[in-house]
Symmetry: C3
Subunit: 331 residues, 3 copies
């Protein structure tokens, strides 16, 4: 059973810029009243009594803080964070934001189950470097101090693998998976794959295409190289896209409707919700012409573009997708 | 008012290989007679008298060099660079090349306004590592010295963010923006975005597709995930592509003609210049069939592929593109 | 003359996790009886007598090991590797795997000529960091030791350029070329390019698209931005794809059949093997309608989608592809 109930407390460390502004939060322990503790790193579980005390705000936090500071060896320009989220409201600061992104990437919370309103405003834009997060306006100062400084990303979100490495997952190019991605065991994200925050896989899957924010992919599905799932953050689409189980999106294809189970979209074909589609029955006859959006969430469909007439067609799908096991035994 | 007038002087530091060959140039100060100084880093403005002296070649440079060497703390295997470009001729060496790439990325000069002839020949191929630029033939020697050496790129151009971090810009995967990219404030380049040198945005824009060399994107436009703008460096295209303001290129689409303002290219559709296009009027009637290239630079067009007939069609566009503000407040 | 004959001996160093499990192998010398030694780094050739001794298993290896250990300065958590492959059987361990991946990336062996069965099982999943390979389960321990730790990839295969930098090759984003890629001199892999292991180019080529495992590209060919070559590891395709010489795959196109020489696939068009294609003769008449797979390996073809009828068509190709020389002089 996975935990998704607040209140929660996260204990960790934040790196600060030269003015004391928080650049990130690395949580080492996430605690809740009714569940086991998560993500321990060099931190003993402080005991349920202490946790209960915190949750109920009856605990003297000074001693606990002192002991945590010692255990975490807080360095210069860093700060101990003990952050509590009472209930799942909008995000009010960077500590909130990171705690919820952790819950997603620890696969404790599923995409689209947390309130992430305000996350862009709460997260500062950061230069992510080989010397950790740096305030972009201080990059030249830091370069003077440390010497060779390589900027990997200039973004509000860090790469997930710099904070959390899930079990049984491969991510060939770690730059392409943001903290807040939800990757289930057995998932392989190839070089052309991409997973935004609040998005991901619900079981073992092969991801060589792009999973936009809010999009979830069912187990045993295969997103071909360069395929697109339409997002809702930019570009005007308002329908949340998803992919069921045992589906295949072909290479360079695209998806603008939620897909059921055992569906295939042909390589190179982009299905937008408004596209008119010829529905072909088992005997090969055209039964009807409908908007693609009306086929949302239906199972056992195959979408192709007829290579002689140019029409987008939807047929019954009899093929099944079989993942190559050796690509998903990620130990 | 932006400066684009020569002569210019750049002051900086070059890293050398073991034979004294320049690997890069990091400029700390760029000076012109009639404009303010740019991109200062730990360098005081030397005074207009000194600059005038340099520009007019009447200045005794020895003292100035000495003082610059001190201020810049030139390390071993590095060399002070004081480089002047008299007028905008072809590129003759690495110092020329970097100075012009800086002008572009500092958004002082717009793409396609500088003479960049000879830039490929002037730039050596470099292994860009976590220990700075390395001569590829010396990589094993350097690894012996420094220990863990990670090669991020083997290319003539560096990543822009290792030299310049523009204000109000996000670049999710910094590997994908070359020095010489021109990114205006409010631009967000997502993981699948790419910006070549001598290319970029003229205002706030969402870039999830590829901006080829020579291509410029107008303000408030949105390049969807994986979309392509046809370049002129390779592949045989000779027409310089551009995108106007308030345009949307759908995910996985492609553009082989210059686009006017308020235009949309449907997700998954590639418009090449030679493609024949049905022109549809406001009443839905086909008015004409024309080559796509004849629609170059026209405003308010929507390009789609009819999903039943397979024909590429061009209709009047009444939708307007609205960028999601929270994605472009990049502070 | 290139070597592809076993037995071979590789001498190098393996990094170990805290339990002594091998994380990688960096070979410094690869030796065979009948060929010159390869890839020397600070290692003298030990003399053919010694090599013969090893190959024939008549040599006392203790002295040799000792001298190699001294020369390679084996550090803590590292181990000397002297590994022999008698004949080209399935891969049984990580030393086998790396030795064969080296042969491919050194362009000693061509793709599809080595037995790579079992390679996924033989390679552990590794966190590739700015401090070298790390066991993913030990990442937090290592971060405690070294401080700033950036994870670049979580994968069984390393990036090629961290082990081998071929002559005359550019790779704009090194994350996208796995060890085991075979890149011939004059090849440029742009940011959107990708090359899997056991795949690559047989001559100078421009790669802005994806070369899947097992796929080879002939000399002077151009893979446009974001184009796809269908692989056989996942997604259900069983035919090994290849591209001949002087071919152009347009941007965002895709290829599901082996292509002959001097062929063009239009930008945005995905050719799957099962697609029906109208074959057009020199006079513009439709001669026939065939499956695309029946055109496999034929020369001088141009594939387009008719932009008015939506039909995929195959015409005689009279255009020739000319690579831009300045992009391939990679010194």
């Amino acid at each position: 059973m996975k935990m998704n109930t607040f209140p929660l407390i996260g204990i960790g460390v934040s790196k600060l810029n030269s003015s004391g502004v928080k650049l990130d939060v690395r949580y080492h322990l996430i605690l809740s009243q009714n569940e086991e503790f998560l993500n321990t790193l060099g931190l003993e579980h402080p005991g349920y009594e202490v946790i209960d005390g915190f949750i109920n705000q009856s605990h003297d936090s000074k001693d606990f803080e002192k002991s945590m500071e010692q255990k975490l060896c807080i360095k210069e320009n860093h700060q101990l964070i003990i952050h509590k989220i009472e209930e799942d409201g909008p995000i009010s600061d960077i500590c909130d934001a990171y705690l919820k992104l952790y819950l997603l990437s620890l696969t404790v919370s599923q995409p689209n189950t947390l309130n992430l309103d305000g996350i862009f405003g709460a997260l500062p834009n950061i230069a992510w470097t080989n010397h950790g997060p740096v305030d972009p306006t201080e990059i030249d100062l830091v370069r003077k101090e440390v010497g060779d400084l390589v900027v990997r990303s200039l973004d509000k979100f860090p790469c997930m693998t710099d904070y959390i490495i899930p079990d049984g997952v491969r991510i060939a190019d770690a730059s392409r998976v943001r903290l807040g991605a939800h990757l289930s065991e057995g998932t392989t994200v190839m070089h052309e794959g991409f997973v935004n925050f609040n998005a991901g896989t619900l079981g073992a899957a092969m991801i060589e295409g792009r999973i936009s924010a809010g999009v979830v992919i069912g187990k045993n599905s295969d997103l071909g190289g360069g395929c697109s799932t339409m997002g809702t953050l930019s570009g005007g689409n308002e329908v949340k896209i998803s992919v069921g189980e045992d589906c295949l999106l072909g290479a360079n294809s695209g998806l603008g409707i939620p897909l059921g189970n055992r569906c295939i979209v042909e390589a190179g074909l982009y299905i937008t919700g408004g596209a008119k589609v010829e529905v072909i029955d088992a005997s090969g006859e055209t039964k009807d012409t409908v908007k693609a959006s009306s086929l949302s969430n239906e199972d056992d469909l195959m979408f192709i573009r007829n290579s002689l007439t140019g029409a987008i067609q939807c047929k019954p799908n009899y093929k099944s997708v079989i993942l190559n096991e050796s690509l998903h035994k990620n130990d």
